[in-house]
Amino acid sequence: MIFVTTGTQEPFDRLLRVVDVIALKIPDIKIVAQTSKSQYKVANIYLHDFLSPVEFNTLFDKAQLIVAHAGMGTIISALVHNKPILVLPRLAKYGEHRNDHQLATAKAFEKLQYLHVAYSEEELESKILPLIKGHMSCNHKIGKYASQQLIASLKNFITA
């Protein structure tokens, strides 16, 4: 199963549209998406408008691949659950975000090999297949909390 999430803030129809098309090419793989305020009507995938945190986590756990916007909440969740994640950054030129910081975030984390990035819809399609076949892994896993260094620094500040 592929879990697609666009975050809870703004719609991201470009991602839904391309995944809806890709779904026809991989009919044996179930695709479940979570989005909000979407205009685009999906035809080939399962769609949820709102998911409780529990439902969200269940889908996240079951998924073999996460396909998402480059939001930090989703990226951190993928790293915690040790799930391969492919992100399509939201772009300001399509009105998907107020600026292109998701592009910068995606590039920085790609460099660390924490995630895979699709810089276009075409690239999303060409990267999904090798990812679900397990040919491109993403094995970085993080713990539950921030780095010791940051925790210690904050602790010192609070008690000072």
Binding site: M72, T105, A146, S147, F157
Partner: protein
């Protein structure tokens, strides 16, 4: 110490929760923009403020008042936020009321500190970035919310 921890819904909140061990041994109170998030900080006091951004000035002012009213009641010693606009209002209200204020810029900001972060830098007692290349003599880098 009474610590007030503030973050908007979504990635900001997820980053704030990852700082939990830093708050232990203190009384911690949380503020966010969605009531369902109280489930993730069970056992702690939790308050909701309306969400707002700099793109809606009227709502921003309203949220600022709600925040100030809440802080008058809570009387925190330290206010910590991972963003965004509500957190900025929260640390500003905190400073006005004599608390110490900490801004932790989101790990999403890799090329420059966010605008809210640059405003926070003007009055916060401490400002952190999560990327070493953005550290300066005024902006701390001490690791990040990942581990």
């Amino acid at each position: 110490m009474k610590v007030l921890a503030i973050a908007s819904a979504g990635g900001h909140w997820i980053q704030l929760l990852r700082l939990m061990p830093a708050f232990e041994d203190n009384e911690v109170i949380f503020i966010s923009t969605h009531k369902s998030f109280s489930d993730t900080v069970k056992g702690h006091d939790f308050f909701v403020v309306p969400d707002a951004s700099r793109w809606n000035k009227l709502r921003l002012i309203y949220m600022g008042f709600v925040m100030l009213k809440l802080l008058l009641r809570i009387k925190p010693d330290v206010v910590i936020t991972t963003g965004a606009a509500p957190g900025l209002m929260g640390i500003l209200a905190g400073k006005i009321l004599g608390a110490r204020a900490v801004w932790i810029d989101s790990i999403a900001n890799v090329e420059q500190i966010s605008l809210s972060g640059r405003i926070a830098l003007l009055f916060a007692d401490r400002t952190y970035t999560q990327w070493p290349n953005l550290a300066s003599n005024k902006v701390y880098f001490n690791g990040n919310v990942l581990s």
